[in-house]
Structure formats: C-alpha cells, structure tokens
Symmetry: C2
Subunit: 387 residues, 2 copies
C-alpha cells in the first residue's frame, strides 16, 4: 500500500531538521533502470525545484525523487535554483546517478532559502537508509498540514502500481500544496509514461478542490521500472492505465478528505451537459463555490446555491450552457429540483460524504469532481498561522 | 445622499410581510417622464424579475422600480414569471404607468414563491406613501444580510446623481448578488443611459468581490428624468459620467465594506501588466483567493499567497503573463517583495483597510479591485443560514 509496493523500488524518510520536529526529507528510487515523467503546476510563479526538475526531465529519464517538507524553495531567486541543483547533485552522488536523473520536489514556506547543510546531510542519510520497506517512512516525511499520510497501491494483472501524496490545502504560513510520487513495475518504454500519467491526472488530481488554489510547487511524478515481465498488449495497457488511474484517484480522494479544516467530502457529478468540458466547468465551479461549501459544512441541501454556481461556470469566455428549466439536482440521491421545479424534499445530510448530482438535461457531457467543505477550521488554519 | 437626492424622484419603503420583521418592499419612481437602462447579472440562471424586467426595458422607458427583499423569485418556474408580471402590473396601476414602464427586482431566498397577496398590498401601500424624502426608507427596505443601508449622492455642476444599493453576500463582478438603483436629474435622451451606466458599472460594481459568487438576481438600474436644465456639452457629459461613476464607486465600496462577515477592506491595485485586461484578471484572482482573504483576516502581510494567486490568474484560456523575477509587492505602501526578492519587511496591518499593490514589471496595464476578507462570520452566516 505504499510507494515501494511495486517491485524494484526503495524509499526512506528521515528528519533532516528543515523544520523543528518530525521527518521532513524523503528519497524514492528505482533499484533498476526506470523511465518516468511528471505533471507540474501551471502556476506562472514556479518554485526552484520545479524549474530544475523540468530541465532534468528534458535530458534524462528519472531514477530517483528527493522531496523535502518545511521550505518550498519558491520565490528564492537564483540562489534557490542553485540549491535545488545542489540537492539533485548530492543525491546523484549518493545514489550513483547523474544529477539529471534526480527529480527534486519541495513543499513548505515560500520566500525562505533552504538550510542546505541540513538538506544535504539529510539526502546522504536517506540515501543510506533506502529500503523496499521504506515507503511508509517516505510518506510520513513529505507531510505539512496533512492530518495523515496518503498512500495507495493496486495489484494489477502481473504488476503493481503504488504511490504516496501530500495535500491538505495550499497552506500554513505560505505552504505549497500537492505532491505525489507513483511507482510501477509495469514495463513502459521511454516517452510512454507522460501519456499515461496525463490521462490519470486529468480525472483524479485535476478534479479535486480544497480551496481552489493552485500552488507554486505542485507535482505528480511517475517512475516505471519494468521489474515485472508483462506482455504489452492493448488489454494489458488498459489494465495498467486503469490501475494507475485508481491509484491517482485514491490519493486524490485522500487529499480532499484531509482538506484543511474539512468535515465532509462533496462528490459532485454533472451529467446532461452540452459537452464533457462544459460539464467539467460546471462541476469545478460548484466545487469551488464558497456558498456551496459553507452550506455543506452546515449540512444544508441548498440547491439554490448549486443552481447559482452552475449558472456562472466560466467557459469559453462566457458561461457554460445551461437552461434552468431543464435542470435537475439531487442530494444523496434525493431529488430536490426536478426539470426546473423545486420538489420540496429536504434530505438529511448526516454522513462524512455528500453526493450532489446535477443533470443539465441538454446533452451527453458529464464530469465529476471532489471537494471539501469550507469551515471555521479552514479560516482558523489560514488566518491564525501568520508568516 | 439618497435615491431621491436628484430632483423629481420619490420613493418609499414599507413592511409588506414578505419576511417576518422590518421593511421589505421599496418603490422608486420619477415624478416626470424619464429614460433609463439597466445592467443585469450574467448568470445563466436568471430570476423571474430579471426575465420580466429585461422584456419591459425592450418595449418602454422605465419610470419606476419595485424591489422586494426576502424572496428572490428565482428558480420558481412559470408561476414566478407570472408573479413578477403581476407585481409590475399592480405598480403600474397604482402609479398611472404601463406595466412595461415598471422594473421589478427581487432579492432573498431562491426557490420559494412570492407571497403575492402581501406583495401586491405592499406595492399599493408604498405607491401611496411615495415622497421626495422617502429615499432613506427605500434604502432600508431592500436589505437582506446587510448590516447597514447603502446610499450615495454627488452634486454635479447643475445636476445631482443619487443612489442606493444592497449587497452583503454573493457579490462578485459580472454583477452578483447585488441590487442598485441610481437616479439623476441630468438630461439624457432615450438610448443614452445604457452607455453611461455600462461604463460606470465596469469600474465600480464589476470590480468588487466578497466571495466570488455571481447571483441570479443582480441588477443596476439608472433612471434619468432631466428635471434640471443642463446644456449638453462634451464637458457636461464628462461631468455627468464622473458623477455617475463616483456614485457607483461609493455604493460598490459600501457593499464590499459590508461584505458578509468582513472585518477589513482589501484595496488591490495591479500595475505593470502586459495589458489592462490581464491586470484585471490578476487583480480579480487575488480578490477571490481564499488564502489571501484569510491572511487578511489574520492581518498577515502574506505576499507568498499574493504571488501564488497572481501566478494563476485565468486569462485567455491560460494564465495572465507574469514573471516572478520582475514582480514587486507592497502592503500599505511597505515593500515586501521587490523585483523577485523578499525585502524582509513585515508591515503591521492594523486598520480597517489594507492596500495590496502589485507591480508586474512587464508593461503599462493596470486595474484595481476591492475585496472583503474571509472570516469565521462568513462561514457562520452561510453555514447556518439554511434553506
């Protein structure tokens, strides 16, 4: 159930002292030649490790990932870039790899330089401690405001996909958001991982919202080492894509469930849209609506706010197509608004998840989204921890 | 200082009983032939009064406005449309106007039918009570979760512009959750009010954000009756446009200051952008960022969150142009981030307003935005205000 679940991967998590207490540096590596890819934040403000790792991925296949928590190494100028490069070089030296074969990721406070002595000592210590049982320790060493470690693994037909993530919100005093490392022993060729990863990320990590923020550091990395000999057929590839999608979806769900201050998981499903992209726009707008999210915190099946949010979903320079008279909404399967008319039903929302289903009644487009609610604790976490 | 400040306007506010306590129905009319226009919400889900009033404005010049608070008459189907039409007809009958000369506006709960007996009795009562001193009463009768009435007036060169508004939640550009009626005795011809109004709204009501929501009912209405004989020159028109802009800006500022749960006003100014529209996109993204808004509530000059928000401002299918190395940020005039480097300064943010200035260092584009902070009380108001 961890990032070392697949054959031929080792990991470690250590306390490097970047922050006061707890493990804060993780290394994951493939013990045999691997191929890989990453999907990055689209924020225009990129953290130094993102800049450096993107460059590395253009010149070599990634064999190892180094992650530190506590300092994001973002908005740190040229010194920050040099620090990220030194981290990769030190890891390469310790692991017998070229620096370009190392991906570096950071999460933590923005605008603060990494304490490099500690980082480099931590990299050496973790590199020595690597083990195939080290997945748990690695997952614990990448957390920030997370309440629990996030891990997932799927046993495929003759192969394994495993992974770990951190999330929680883009938060704390200027903390950056979401990181995930996924590994597999399924045999992929160079160049193939990106396509599989993009498809999996599109319907998992890209369909979750804690607070609608997009950080400077977000990254999802995939390493595939082919340690298991699986015959590559279309069916096998589909099986791998499904397993990869399941692991990403499980990690994404964990991230939202552990969203800062969250008390309930919103499972938003939009159907009947004019197109899939419009369904996604509507689902995203609902998932990021403060009014829908505060209503969810109050366990209020407030379909009026769902309607108002759906009606203002940005799409193509305007709003997504929608006709209130054709629209239907249900909460936890109970119809509250049916083809333009309130039904009068008011379902009790008691659980730790609420399903909000919208049928736009226009076409065949559909999309789903996961979101957390907006609570006192979200405000508390983000207002009271000052920089 | 009210909607009856200009010559030839009368108003009244009464308790019709649409909600339990307090005044909840207002009528504003011109006592002589007027021309007018309105700018409406762009939400795809339109409240019935919006549908009906848009139709009325296409066939006649508006002479009166009827506003009820308590029930939004949104998502109410064909019956809601009929109710809005009956309201206009009753007002027309009481005021000696065609129904099409009456604009009807509603604000309140979505998905509930208007109690028409009370509404019609209230329309009759208010029509009888109209007076040139009735502006205050009207401003008080249109509020919902607002903490205070919002009024403004400007004495121009030989003319007056006055107005009232309600806001408080669901406030966002593209006119959200907000109603405003502005009157003037400046002489305009039929067809002219819309152009003046659009220009004024673009830089006032469309540059504010409480929670990024866009409502089903938002409207800004302008009535101009030419009660004052002002010679129409280019200079006079500019003076009128400036006065109208000032009244709209004052009302918009009041709305944000009274944003649900808000404790501080964020005055966001973006300069040095590649273009004005990109500056607006960046300013809007900062104004709607939960992280920036919770930091403001905590009086934390958290430039890291400002950077991260600015770097993810949606524009033209991607993000607005931005280069972190050229970017500078100041809080209340104190530079905290200068051309890509933290300055180390940490200004104390003590007042009821915080100025956040961003210089992107790219071009000559600029824009400003007003926003409220995100607080416990916002969550409380919206989690506990059940349907």
């Amino acid at each position: 159930m961890s990032v070392t679940a697949a054959e031929g991967f080792a990991a470690a998590g250590v306390h490097a002292g970047i922050r006061r207490a707890g493990p804060d540096l993780a290394v994951v590596r493939s013990t045999r030649p691997a191929v890989g890819a990453a999907v990055w934040t689209t924020n225009r403000v990129l953290a130094a490790p993102v800049v450096v790792s993107k460059r590395h991925l253009m010149t070599a296949e990634p064999q190892a990932v180094v992650i530190n928590a506590g300092v994001a190494n973002a908005a740190t100028g040229g010194a920050g870039i040099a620090d990220a490069e030194r981290t990769a070089a030190e890891a390469g030296h310790a692991l017998g790899l070229f620096p370009e074969q190392v991906v570096v990721l950071s999460t933590g406070v923005i605008g603060v330089q990494l304490p490099m002595d500690r980082v480099l000592a931590g990299v050496r210590e973790a590199s020595t401690a690597l083990s195939t049982a080290g997945g748990e320790a690695a997952a614990g060493a990448i957390l920030t405001t997370d309440r629990w470690p996030k891990q997932a693994a799927v046993d495929g037909n003759g192969f394994v996909v495993g992974g770990m993530a951190k999330g929680a919100g883009m938060i704390h005093p200027r903390l950056a958001t979401m990181l995930a490392v996924v590994t597999t022993d399924y045999p992929l060729e160079a160049g193939e991982p990106l396509e599989f990863l993009r498809e999996a990320v599109d319907t998992s990590f890209n369909r979750i919202s804690v607070d609608g923020e997009c950080s400077t550091n977000d990254a999802v990395v995939l390493l595939a080492n082919g340690a298991r000999e699986v015959e590559r057929t279309a069916a096998a590839d589909e099986g791998f894509a499904a397993a990869l999608g399941d692991v990403c979806a499980a990690l994404a769900r964990e991230i939202v469930s552990d969203g800062e201050g969250s008390t309930v998981l919103l499972e938003i499903a939009v159907s009947g849209a004019a197109s899939d992209v419009e369904a996604e726009a509507v689902a995203r707008r609902i998932a990021t609506s403060p009014l829908v999210k505060t209503a969810a915190f109050g366990r209020d099946p407030n379909w009026g706010r769902v309607l108002a949010a759906a009606g203002s979903a940005p799409w193509n320079g305007g709003f997504a197509h929608l006709d209130a008279d054709r629209l239907s909404v249900s909460f936890d399967g109970v119809s509250v608004f049916l083809r333009g008319q309130p039904t009068g039903a008011k379902p009790a929302l008691g659980g730790t998840a609420v399903a909000i289903d919208l049928d736009l009644g226009l076409g065949a487009g559909s999309a789903s989204y996961l979101a957390s609610d907006l609570t006192y604790d979200y405000v508390k976490l983000n207002a009271e921890y000052t920089t």
